[in-house]
Symmetry: D2
Subunit: 351 residues, 4 copies
């Protein structure tokens, strides 16, 4: 049994990570930390896990990198950006493998970090050493990683649908428009009036238009694969569900269709491209026939649902994805990376 | 007091129409019909109106065009498409003014009707005689109309943002992408498993991709103003709220910006265009500063909220609108048209 | 047009009060105050009212009793308990009529106030001078009141069902059990983690068991009518709706039924009692036949729905009420009291 | 690996049962039936399980008792009452163990069945042979059962809190009042207008007052333990959540307290009684300190949360329980029974 620890386990992603790790057949959750909850058991803080023996035994401690490095070989960071990097440095120096759920190591470029996050990167020396933890794309690199930057929830819902098409040069890189709908858990467990029940229920609203922070990592990843600078349009919306992201993407084909027949041929290429990329992936579900994604099908799972339609009327491709923002968009994906780097079956603890 | 009647008042739009008409200071609700509820009072069928004296007195009757033509000078049709036209013909022959909330008279072209609605138009002779009841655009024609085709909920949320920009030739007509989110009341009061609480709650999903029926009237109206055939991309989504539509529109400027300064100049033109179109409209609210639309601000009102952002990074314009699908997207707009043709203050019964 | 002011108009009850007063045909909303929003218009703070001309013109000011006394003859206090009393004293001295939505003047007994609210009453000299603003019970006293203590939301949902039965000595006073379910707006617009969307959605929970603050005014009012000390059981629960209270009451008849026939006779007395009390009340709806209360029938209205069943199996009476906690449970009831004391039709601005 | 089958796996309980059985470490889900879905795989019908290999392989078949008896040693019935009994008879004759989630075998008395379910019992000869599948009470009998009648959701939420107190003669048997709040999944996946999203969202309502069908099994079980005829008051309410039941119970102590000190002594007995009954039960969580039950803590788990307060003011005991109506209230409990009779660890597949 591999020993793992979670630093900052009191938020929604942290709670979900604890759930997955408690039930994982090949690891032992050796330590969890939280300044707020130090001294309490996991079962006391999260009553949902109260019937789990390990949750009743394990107590939150104050975060202490030195101590944790002795207790666990793999440490997950479920901390705000900026703070995560501060813990990553000593943990890596102590020989731990770090899987960071924050944005701190997702970018290769410290200047882009400063532009989007508003402060200097706290550990620029590590920027080039992290692996972007999107297993369907970086599986080989994850195997040997010392520092995994687990992707954000919106980026996952956009990158998995777009990267294969970009790599196959089927679409025009700068035509991508991503319209995303997110459940309220994406905002975290912060006591802010904007996220009160009565302010979110019976409400739908866009926010952070037109420049959301996640654009930085989305565009960097798209650019790497497209081998050119990619700029996209991205609009997040808040909708009254606890969990789930539904992203609808609009893209132009690399070349315009002369006629409906050409559109059909191109549609076949798109389907073949997705089949090649994902048919054997355990956590990407390609929808067939008339089925369309629905967040209720993926909530609580590590699956991303994917469907697409070529619209011969408009000459565009519409791609739709659904995921659980806290699982495939955060904690489940981090566990998937851990499974890869530990040599466990990739689905261990995730089905 | 003008006498009005509502045929088919048992659905969500019909109920909302009854609410508005009961409280309207210058009309008398003379008759309401419903096969299902004939014999019961409005107060019995809709307990929400039970404290209203008129709702306690007025009983639903079987729909009978001849009889209604004697009871009311204006008749609202809140019926399914196809059925509405059957009632419109005799009512108009009897000299009634008809305000139809269905799709039956929104199109000028019977062939497009057949393509999108799957059957021959039941009264093609009336197709050219109806006025599209969007007051902000067709106010003059509404004044003298005999037959008003009140716009659909999605079309209103797209046309009001797009028409001024198209008329001013500020945007590329075929670049329009409309991503819409609708509350479940948009599906009507049908007992179908897809709209059960447990199937909609904690769920978000696209539907009718890529060719929803409302595209027909949206594109016809856009084409009229653009003076060219306009084809748009439109994706509706179902979200777990009772009411409200939030539409996010992505459009390309008529000409690309050479630089950020040019983007700023063009942004000024967009703002001026919206100000000219809507600053004095009572039911369009142009959001200023950093404010963005939120359906909870418009639910229960006849207002459409409108905000826009020029994104210099991508060269696109993002426009966002919010409305109540049952009010500005249906019954409120129909009452607004009635106010215009009756010479009442346009806001009567709507503020 | 009578001039009225609202102090503390930024919470949910305050917002609802502003909505009702903006649309009231016989009053002018002369002033609204809020430390947080001073300087902004009502339309800016509450976009929902943005199409109302008065909301666009009227600006929030800092609360200043002296100034307000010059601007308005009637002042509503929508303030936290303790603070409300501080404003009431100078306003009454200046000759204003005060309608207080807080708990400050609902009790006659300062000691009970201290027991339940945890501090000394800030203006004990006014305790005996206020009228409990439940129009169906204290209509005559409201007419001449200088200080109206508008009842709480839970108390209204319990007192209206129980008082007629107690007065008629039909039920055993100390047998009353009230099980109440409240929407989240009852907790106010406080930024506390307990009321975040994700903490309330898909959750139901009791709270403040067994001694909620509202017990003090409920028991005082019941005792006055029963002419004996009444102690009741009361359990509030939080449910994931914005608005609405549903209260189910369990009571024992004053005397046990010897048989089913006697139960039927007694059921007739209960019905007659409710008919006598409420048949002509505009804001109490007695449900007939098999109908049961549903909060969605009363949300946005000043109506309380009331149904009851005598259970011959158990020998108990079950009474159920539904109301909108922000209207009949707060602001609507306060406006109803205002209508009475101003000599307006009691339903003015409330239908 | 024990082979099990599920008949009627298309409703909400059936789906939840399939979820639990797919993930159970010691059984193989050998067959699932559904007239509606025959021929489709489990993964096609329930996309949520699509990443599970067994769900992709297993196809729904038409229900055929003879065939199923060959495929599985244990058969779960997730069918409507009346229909379940028809399948139980041949399955038991073929030597299968039957675990029935319907109401068909929960009562010992065929006349009570007819009174509450409106038709003759379809297999009265089996009535005396079934075991009521409440493991915390009938664990020994479940071990040797051939036919297990798994309890209803409301009964579980009432019986677990009440039975230990009744057995210890701490409470007055006929004083029990149960006020229950249920999520909409309790109504099943029926396409009825009452359960449409817009009819349930922003709504709370009682129903089936005062004589719900579940009263029959609740009172029979209470009577058995109390050794006298017990009649209780029970009011179910529908609240807008997918899952979860919260029950608040009001009971009188067997003897009145003379004073507050006596109340304290009695409170100690209640606590000791619950500790004795449930401290070592894996699926009953006794809440300590100030904690109160919340359905969000138990949704998706087989746990029932239990808290209680002695109210010295009123002389009553208030007991509150929370459970997932589809897990501890249905499918999880059925799996718990299966674990017991198979000799598996009782928590297998349930933590």
């Amino acid at each position: 049994m591999k020993k793992v620890a979670v630093i900052g386990a009191s938020g929604y992603s942290g709670e979900e990570l604890v759930r997955l790790l408690l039930n994982h057949p090949q690891i032992e959750l050796a330590a969890v930390t939280s300044r707020q909850f130090a001294g309490q058991t996991v079962a006391q803080v999260f009553p949902k896990f109260a019937s789990h023996p390990r949750a009743r035994a394990l107590r939150f401690t104050e975060p202490n990198a030195e101590l944790l490095a002795k207790q666990a070989g793999i440490v997950f960071l479920a901390l705000p950006h900026g703070v995560a990097a501060e813990f990553a440095v000593p943990l890596i120096q102590s020989g731990c493998i770090v899987i960071d759920l924050s944005a701190d190591f997702r970018l290769r470029n410290g200047e882009v970090y400063r532009e989007f996050y508003g402060h200097e990167h706290p550990a620029p020396e590590l920027l080039g050493k992290s692996v972007y933890g999107l297993p369907e794309v970086y599986r080989a690199q994850i195997r040997d990683a010392m520092l995994i930057a687990s992707p954000g929830c919106y980026p996952t819902s956009i990158l998995l649908p777009m990267l294969p098409l970009l790599r196959a040069k089927l679409i025009h890189p700068n035509s991508i428009i991503a319209d995303s709908l997110s459940g309220v858990s994406g905002a975290g467990r912060k006591a802010e009036a904007d996220y009160l029940f009565c302010e979110c229920n019976e409400s739908v609203r866009p926010y952070a238009v037109p420049k959301h922070r996640h654009l930085s990592e989305i565009e960097e990843q798209l650019s790497l694969v497209a081998e050119q600078r990619v700029v996209i349009q991205f609009t997040p919306h808040l909708i009254p569900v606890n969990r789930g992201i539904l992203t609808t993407l609009y893209v132009a084909p690399a070349e315009q269709f002369p006629d409906a027949q050409a559109a059909g041929v191109w549609a076949g290429k798109v389907s073949a491209c997705y089949q090649a990329a994902y048919a054997s992936e355990p956590f990407v579900r390609l929808l067939e026939g008339r089925e369309l994604p629905d967040t209720k099908n993926v909530v609580g799972t590590n699956v991303l649902e994917l469907a697409w339609r070529v619209d011969a009327r408009t000459g565009r491709l519409v791609v739709m994805s659904a995921e659980d923002n806290l699982v495939k968009g955060a904690s489940g994906q981090a566990v998937q990376s851990m499974n890869i780097l530990c040599g466990f079956p990739e689905t261990a603890g995730l089905i």
